[in-house]
Symmetry: C2
């Protein structure tokens, strides 16, 4: 497909509606399965997060008929509310997937819309997987087209571009034609929202939840004949021009259906902001090698891309949401505990006196020439010696991807954390077989208490 | 209250939570009543719009318990869906109110959230009216702070700023404290959405509907303890910086609680874009005076502020949504039919051959020095003569406001158009007495079939 930037919405809709399963390589399919598995694991882990509990309590009086499962919980709301809640739990631990080209977490909005929809409209596991791959492709390509100024301006891209993927995936699963798929993309564009300012509070989850819910609604409304504009992405007042100062729409159309962005999607090894991964890798390596006690550390100097400061310079944090996007907290916890797992981002660890003291001794140095997936950490000891570690590719990035075994371990840990009643091994095996699953609702049922 | 631009969200929340009824003048209260009356009239008129019918059909399977009335219809969905639908119908005819400083239509998002909420949490008519005035104030002041570049960039301000008013009004009606009101404003900020590109299609209604629904949800979530960021409006990645290139936060705080923006809110005399009012006034005046037949008209030259071209330069329109923001259609219809009412924006008139022919002979000339509420129309006849009419203030603008009698007539016409079963005189009288109404749900019941 060649780029036609004056009709990019139509080109994208043609891809979404016309994608053929046979044209998708086994490698792409496999990464789609890994993406869905990682999503379900994250949603299990986040199922009992405080933000989830409050959202469920507040929204329950408005729930429609019991249509869809909330992963890892007992409630059964209407499909739109289920899409919202599953996207919240899938993202709330900051442990989900990451598309490095955009630093977006594509799975939660796309998968949540799909799992809610497939309970309304029976489809095969293969159809769901296909729609997921198409949806992730849509989110990532729209994101690439508006980056880097989209995020720099203050748009929380996981939500703002995730809604396009959710709408595309649901349009695909419903089987909308090109015209109505384009309407669905238009309804996504005009509902796209979420500010970077919301990160660090529960408010962040509204963006991700709404991306799933409103993306699903976009497809359903388009199916019903609710019309959209012709050029919601490329128009003078369309999504690209309005939310980016550097829009390049060729990213949406060039090679679409040939190159697949899901291959550039990685799964987090640590439940925190992705730019912190190489930093944590380096800290864990330095601790393992030199084992400096906290009292021996004079300061820790982190050198990295300016984006790291932009997103994670939070020396004082008071809760998990802040800690997960805090360079200082992640460094301190990794040095003190030799780990950066879910426990290191809980209140006890955040309030720990030694962690707080070490957070204050973390210094950041900008290096605009450093690749964003790299970091150099130098620990300066009180006796004047220093040790450095350079990480070129953080673990859980495309340069050093999580293996299948690592991913399974992660999902087991997440299930144990948020939904200990789940048979994690059985769920993992079932998810890995989704391509041949006749009824994906069966997979959802494996995530809830019997 | 003095301006503190580094804590503008907190200042705004203090106003919302602390506003005192006794500090609101009779003039402001009266304009609040007129705003609510005009809203209910518009929602009645829009109740059977195609966009409403489709939205109701698509959303009905997801409705929660019957909690709130849909104005002018028989359905009774949960309060969140009712808020969405009432905001859609209140705005869909392009006949609602207009705050001239921002060219925003503040009532639909604010009133829809409130009328849905008051069915869940019984309040007095006075409390509802007070919350409405506070909500309109919030929407307009946030809008003033981000204009003019907010709209110029492509943000559909009725929705993007309307959600702040809806959240503030609902927070006020629930009785949230300052901290939780600020959270509600934060949830509004991060859910703010709607693109100018969506105007002219049904997609536009999603923004207005979501502003009401998500504004109400913002307040309910804040009540439940769902936390928001400290500086959602004024932060580095907050609403103002992200959506405006000219933010001036003093517009939010200066004189708040002393000067009231609802006094700058006007009610449309024609169901179309507000910048077209002086143009239509001039066309109707020229037709009444000179009665040129369509064949005698060589061309019509409209001279006005560049914003007129920006928003209404649509020589070819195919449906009511496009026609209502079309300079060319409005001019042609006014000259041919001597009116610009609901009938002039229906399909028959839009497809009329004579209207189409005259649309093609409408020429626009920019005059950057012309005030936005003015226009000069010159009709050039085939015989070489020409006639001009200059309108300084369009009817239905603060310089030439609608009288109470004109407003009542408008509401009666709207009711007859969209909900002919309604006792319009009884409803108007009841709405005008809302300040002393013990149970505002009674007013809603007057809008639906018995």
């Amino acid at each position: 497909m060649t780029a036609d930037q004056s009709h990019v919405t139509k080109s994208l809709a043609q891809f979404v509606a016309g994608s053929q399963w046979d044209a998708i390589s086994p490698e792409v399919r496999c990464e789609g399965v890994r993406g869905l598995l990682n999503f379900v694991g994250c949603a299990l882990g986040g199922a009992r997060d405080e933000a989830m509990d409050i959202a469920v309590t507040v929204l329950t009086p408005f729930f429609g008929p019991p249509q869809a499962i909330v992963i890892g919980r007992g409630e059964r709301p209407d499909a739109l509310n289920a899409a919202f809640l599953n996207a919240v739990s899938g993202n709330v631990l900051e442990y989900d997937d990451t598309h490095l080209g955009t630093v977006m977490h594509p799975a939660a909005p796309v998968a949540s819309g799909l799992f809610a929809l497939e309970e309304l409209r029976p489809v095969s596991g293969r159809e769901l997987l296909h729609a997921f791959i198409v949806g992730v492709e849509t989110s990532c390509r729209v994101g690439l087209a508006v980056m880097p100024t989209h995020y720099r301006r203050g748009w929380h891209i996981t939500a703002t571009c995730g809604i396009f993927g959710a709408a595309a995936a649901c349009a695909r699963l419903i089987g909308l034609d090109v015209r109505r798929t384009a309407w669905a993309l238009g309804h996504a564009a005009t509902q796209s929202a979420s500010l970077v300012e919301s990160l660090g509070s529960m408010s962040k989850s509204l963006g991700v939840g709404n991306a799933a819910k409103n993306g699903l609604a976009a497809a359903l409304l388009a199916e019903g004949g609710f019309s959209g504009p012709d050029k919601p992405i490329e128009g003078r007042y369309g999504f690209a021009a309005v939310t980016s100062d550097s829009a390049d729409l060729a990213h949406i159309t060039d090679g679409i259906g040939e190159r697949w962005e899901v291959l550039n999607n990685a799964y987090k090894p640590y439940p925190c902001g992705v730019v912190l991964f190489p930093v944590i890798d380096a800290c864990l390596e330095l601790r393992a090698r030199h084992a400096p006690g906290p009292e021996a550390i004079d300061r820790v100097v982190v050198r990295g891309h300016p984006l790291m400061r932009e997103r994670t310079d939070r020396p004082n944090v008071e809760n998990a949401r802040g800690a997960k996007v805090s360079l200082q907290h992640s460094v301190a916890a990794a040095f003190l505990f030799g780990a950066a797992g879910l426990a290191q981002y809980e209140d006890d660890c955040i309030a720990d006196a030694a962690v707080r003291a070490l957070r204050a001794r973390v210094v950041f140095e900008e290096d605009p020439s450093a690749p964003v997936e790299s970091a150099t950490v130098t620990v300066h000891l009180a006796d004047g010696t220093k040790h450095s570690e350079h990480i070129r590719h953080g673990r859980g990035t495309p340069g050093r991807p999580m293996s299948d075994a690592e991913l399974d371990t992660k999902v087991r840990e997440l299930a144990a954390y948020g939904a200990p009643f789940v048979d994690a091994a059985g769920l993992i095996a079932a998810m890995r077989g989704i391509q041949d699953e006749a009824d994906p609702t069966r997979l959802m049922r494996l995530t809830v208490p019997t």
